[in-house]
């Protein structure tokens, strides 16, 4: 029997509310499959399961808030027989998208503290109906009784309080960062002439939908550089640094309702520019509609923030714990550039690094930043 626990989806999360189960008892689960949607202070996050097995029991009913680390479901290992007692009702595997649950069924389930995820739907197109809920048994007592459904606006997950919650979560993480992490900061202007020329040439031959954005080059450059300087890429925990094997770049994305999240783009160093571009637009789209995966929330090994759109010259960021570095990019703008004793107007960008002095020092950081600057000027290497 495997215990599936509520994962931590970032340093600023200590509990989450279960919004939806996407599997039901009896379903086979693969590694990496999204099994539940959990509401954190910042977003509704799709939680993946990293073990293969068959869902045995869902222990937390929809709507309940539980601490990180609590067992929320049990899985049977491949080949394992279910224990004799407590057979849950079987559901047809929920195929794509949202399960069909009628408003009356939702209401009744909330009133009785019944876990909709464990109920098989017999209505039109497999919808869970009132009859199905009436025929189901309430959630196991061990989990604790569920409060009667809150009335009015609170039905909407998050609702009014989401932005306050988001702010609170950011406040906690950033205070911790500034309290615990001895930051040092470096900046370096990067001429972009060659880069932009290359990008224009490259984009001229691409269809509109496949054109590359400058930010894609930035992400790849950071990832490749981090590969060379592993002490910028990883986590500080329990008093020592642990380098990460892959570079999962956290991308700071502003939320519509205010606040920021920085979910991970996975394995950026090994992906093509094309792939990074499409992964990025997919990630941004999902963040804006509030559907991120748990691995995206908990995985970033190094964060990139780009405030170029806002017109600031450079950004000196606050490291997101337990990461140890953050790379910032300001707005690309024309500056007077001295080159060969002559002054020219050249498009440039200020790249910055905020790094953890416990792990690295200024010289190491400077080399890392120089590597990024160098890669950015040689886009053909990206």
């Amino acid at each position: 029997m495997i215990d599936f626990t509520l994962p931590s989806l970032g340093a600023d999360m200590d509990e989450g509310r279960l919004d939806e189960w996407l599997v039901a008892p009896g379903d086979a689960v693969e590694r990496g499959q999204v099994v539940a949607v959990v509401e954190t202070a910042k977003a509704a996050v799709e939680v993946e399961c990293w073990q293969e097995g068959t869902v045995h029991q869902l222990l937390v009913p929809v709507g309940e808030t539980v601490p990180v680390g609590q067992v929320i479901a049990t899985l049977l290992e491949p080949g394992e027989e279910p224990p004799a007692v407590t057979p849950g009702p079987r559901t047809p595997p929920s195929s794509e998208g949202r399960r069909r649950i009628t408003p009356a069924a939702r209401q009744a389930a909330a009133d009785r503290g019944i876990d909709l995820g464990a109920i098989a739907g017999t209505g039109p197109d497999g919808a869970v109906t009132l009859d199905d809920v009436r025929g189901a048994t309430p959630a196991p007592a061990a989990v604790g009784a569920v409060e009667p459904a809150p009335s009015g606006g609170e039905r909407e997950p998050g609702g009014v309080d989401r932005s306050t919650e988001t702010r609170r979560a950011i406040a906690a993480a950033m205070s911790r960062s500034k309290r615990e992490i001895p930051h040092y900061y470096l900046t370096q202007p990067v001429p972009l002439e060659a880069t932009l020329e290359w990008l224009n040439r490259e984009n001229a031959s691409r269809p509109v939908t496949e054109r590359l954005l400058p930010v894609v080059l930035q992400l790849k450059a950071v990832a490749l550089a981090a590969h060379e300087y592993p002490d910028m890429n990883g986590f500080w925990s329990d008093g020592c640094f642990q380098a990460a094997e892959s570079v999962h770049v956290g991308v700071a994305i502003a939320l519509r309702q205010g606040g920021l999240v920085a979910p991970a783009l996975h394995d950026v160093a090994s992906k093509s520019l094309q792939q990074i571009g499409s992964d990025l637009s997919d990630l941004v789209r999902r963040v804006r509609v509030g559907s991120m995966r748990s691995s995206e929330m908990s995985d970033p090994t190094l964060t990139v923030t780009s405030l170029g759109d806002e017109g600031v010259e450079s950004v000196l960021g606050v490291i997101y714990p337990p990461q140890v570095a953050l790379v910032g990019f300001g707005k690309p703008m024309e500056r007077a550039w001295v080159d060969d004793g002559r002054v020219r107007a050249v498009p440039t960008l200020v790249a910055s690094l905020a790094a953890d002095h416990r792990v690295s020092d200024g010289r190491r950081g400077a080399l890392f930043l120089a590597a990024i600057a160098d890669l950015l000027q040689h886009p053909e290497r990206l």
């Binding site: 408003p103 069924a105 039109p124 009132l130």
Partner: protein, 328 residues
């Protein structure tokens, strides 16, 4: 007393004319011919040409005359042959009769009753067969009635004539030959009625679709689905209390409306169900309406165009899914 729907309407007119000298009947062919649907047969002999008046083919004109007479203190019953032709008089009904109380700051009202036949099923093709009740139900300032039973046909005219504001009564032409036991008491013209009680699904309908819906409900009960049938009766203002009570009990709703579905009364009823009873719904509200074509002449095409009991049963099947005990 067993009456046909046709006789019930005639008796209600006769009662009204006997009891109130201000009441008179006017319309195309209502006097000497006895009414296109034979509703007014015999009334000319009994009340004379002053009170049972034939009019020329001029809907705009004679509905206007009716409004004038009502303003002058009379209680006119104006018969328009079908709802299709009544569109010629829409200006009088919508811009004058319905609006006058409001436009005169409450100084004038128009105690007019307009009766008209509606609906298809008699192979009279597109210009005689449409169900445009919805167009009238859209207009504030009038009451719109759709008697679907002989009792309502008998009992709705008296309160309609008592109403100080215009009332439009739709008589589905398919209903005239139906006969039922009935009394002669007035009925109320403010509420919807439950015509059959049930637990699993609410079928909401009115007028000519009521008998078909009751037939479907009977078939459904044989298949293990208990359908409640709500007869709207009053299309404006809608009595939503009865609808919501029923939907809250059954959790499923199907609207049957001979009108076309786009912008229809069925659409309005569904919208209100979603607004007022969303969290009680156990399936998306559904409807059976006429196919969106001008009504065909050929019998098989006409039948295929209209709501029919088998279509209603099938639609309920999709709504209830595998309801316990049902064999749909």
């Amino acid at each position: 007393m067993r009456l046909t729907y046709r006789e019930a309407v005639r008796e209600s007119i006769r009662d009204a004319m006997r009891s109130d000298p201000r009441v008179f009947l006017m319309g195309e062919d209502v006097a000497r011919y006895g009414g296109t649907y034979a509703v007014s047969t015999g009334l000319l002999d009994e009340f004379g040409p002053e009170r049972v008046r034939d009019t020329p083919l001029s809907e705009l004109g004679f509905v206007g005359v009716g409004i004038g007479a009502a303003l002058g203190g009379m209680r006119p019953i104006v018969e328009v042959m079908t709802v299709n032709f009544s569109l010629l008089s829409l200006d009088q009904i919508v811009n004058t009769a319905a609006a006058l109380r409001h436009m005169s700051g409450g100084q004038f009202s128009v105690p007019l009753v307009v009766r008209m036949a509606t609906g298809a099923g008699r192979q009279l093709a597109a210009q005689h067969s449409h169900s445009l009740e919805c167009w009238y139900a859209h207009i504030p300032g009038i009451t719109v009635l759709a008697p679907a039973t002989v009792e309502d046909a008998r009992g709705m005219l008296a309160p309609a004539l008592k109403d100080p504001d215009p009332v439009v009564i739709f008589e589905h032409a398919q209903l005239y030959n139906r006969s039922e036991e009935t009394g002669d008491a007035p009925v109320d013209i403010t509420s919807a009625r439950i015509r059959r009680a049930g637990d699993d699904v609410t079928l909401i309908t009115y007028g000519g679709s009521l008998p078909k819906t009751l037939d479907a409900a009977q078939t459904l009960s044989e298949k293990g689905v208990s359908a409640e049938v709500v007869d709207l009766r009053v299309l404006r203002p809608l009595d939503t209390d009865v609808i919501m009570q029923s939907v809250r009990k059954t959790h499923r709703a199907l609207v049957v409306d001979e009108g076309w579905r786009s912008g229809s009364l069925a659409a309005e009823v569904m919208a209100r169900i979603v607004e007022e009873a969303f969290f009680d719904l156990d399936a998306p509200p559904a409807r059976v309406c006429s196919r969106e074509v001008p009504m065909p002449y050929a019998r098989h095409l006409e039948e295929a165009t209209l709501p029919q009991p088998d279509k209603i049963v099938a639609a309920v099947g999709a709504l209830v899914g595998s309801l316990r005990g049902s064999t749909l």
